[in-house]
């Protein structure tokens, strides 16, 4: 077997800065979707196993290196650690590590940039740190989470990596040119 080199979706690109904002490819580690079986009570098991709360809909818990991101109806994405084996009793666990492109968008104008791409009110009054949404990023279905005062984590399907970068660069340039 040849020695294969694993590439990240954006091929470990250098961060891109336009105006006040920077796009950085994020290596989130292992990604596992956790889909609880009907009626399963997984919250306590999850908290004990991973040290963070099971997120309510539209919320994310944890911090850099280990996050639990609500990911749709009856689904949470565990980003970082390998899933505790005990979770398998309560939920279907699916490895998604190579399936998603993840970037952070940070900077003073990050909300203005995302306002050009996402049909949601992402202002801090409405979308605080720890809030997340499944929504559209331009024409892609994706996930957006506020992870800092002016920093967002964005996920789209891996095959959309180039399109995500292109759309972000266009929106950043469009905001930057307005000064």
């Amino acid at each position: 077997m040849a020695d294969l080199i694993a590439k990240t979706p954006l091929d470990s690109m250098e961060p891109v800065t336009i105006g006040t904002c920077t796009v950085t490819e994020a290596n989130l580690g292992t990604l596992t979707s956790i889909a609880p079986y009907a009626g399963a009570k997984i919250a306590d098991t999850f908290k004990t196993a991973h040290g963070m709360a099971w997120p309510a809909p539209n919320r994310a818990t944890g911090k850099d290196g280990a996050r639990a991101i609500w990911f749709g109806r009856d689904m949470v994405l565990l980003a970082g650690p390998d899933p505790d084996a005990g979770l398998a009793k309560h939920a279907a666990l699916t490895d998604q590590s190579d399936a998603w492109t993840a970037v952070t968008l940070g900077g003073a104008d990050a909300e203005a940039v995302l306002a050009r791409l996402i049909p949601l009110d992402l202002s801090p009054a409405n979308f605080k740190r720890g809030h997340t949404a499944r929504t559209q990023i331009q024409h892609m279905t994706g996930s957006v989470t506020r992870i800092g005062a002016d920093t967002f984590l964005l996920l789209v399907f891996r095959s959309m990596a180039g399109t995500l970068l292109h759309d972000l660069e266009r929106a950043m340039a469009s905001v930057a040119v307005r000064g």
């Binding site: 809909p57 539209n58 109806r73 689904m75 049909p119 949601l120 949404a133």
Partner: protein
């Protein structure tokens, strides 16, 4: 037009996929007979007012929704999770 998903909150219409009249939630029994199945598959009311419909929040949480919409004015009267309507 905006729809208030019971899980995600109010969202733009572009996040949703329209499936059709909510009659699809009332599947006849396998032995219900030709007339019932013909009606289920092919025949639809065409009211100029409130219509119960099935939508999917496919660019959001993925839930199937039962939406009551006035097809003349596009006023959304209610949005419920199809799962809860069925139970």
């Amino acid at each position: 037009m905006r729809l208030r998903c019971p899980i995600c909150g109010e969202r733009d219409r572009r996040e949703f996929y329209y499936q059709g009249a909510a009659v699809m939630l009332d599947r006849p029994a396998p032995d219900a007979g030709e007339a019932a199945w013909d009606n289920y598959l092919h025949l639809r009311e065409n009211p100029a007012g409130d219509l119960e419909e099935v939508w999917s929040h496919d660019a959001g949480c993925g839930a199937w929704l039962k939406v009551t919409r006035n097809v003349s004015t596009h006023e959304i009267k209610s949005v419920e999770l199809a799962r809860e309507v069925k139970q």
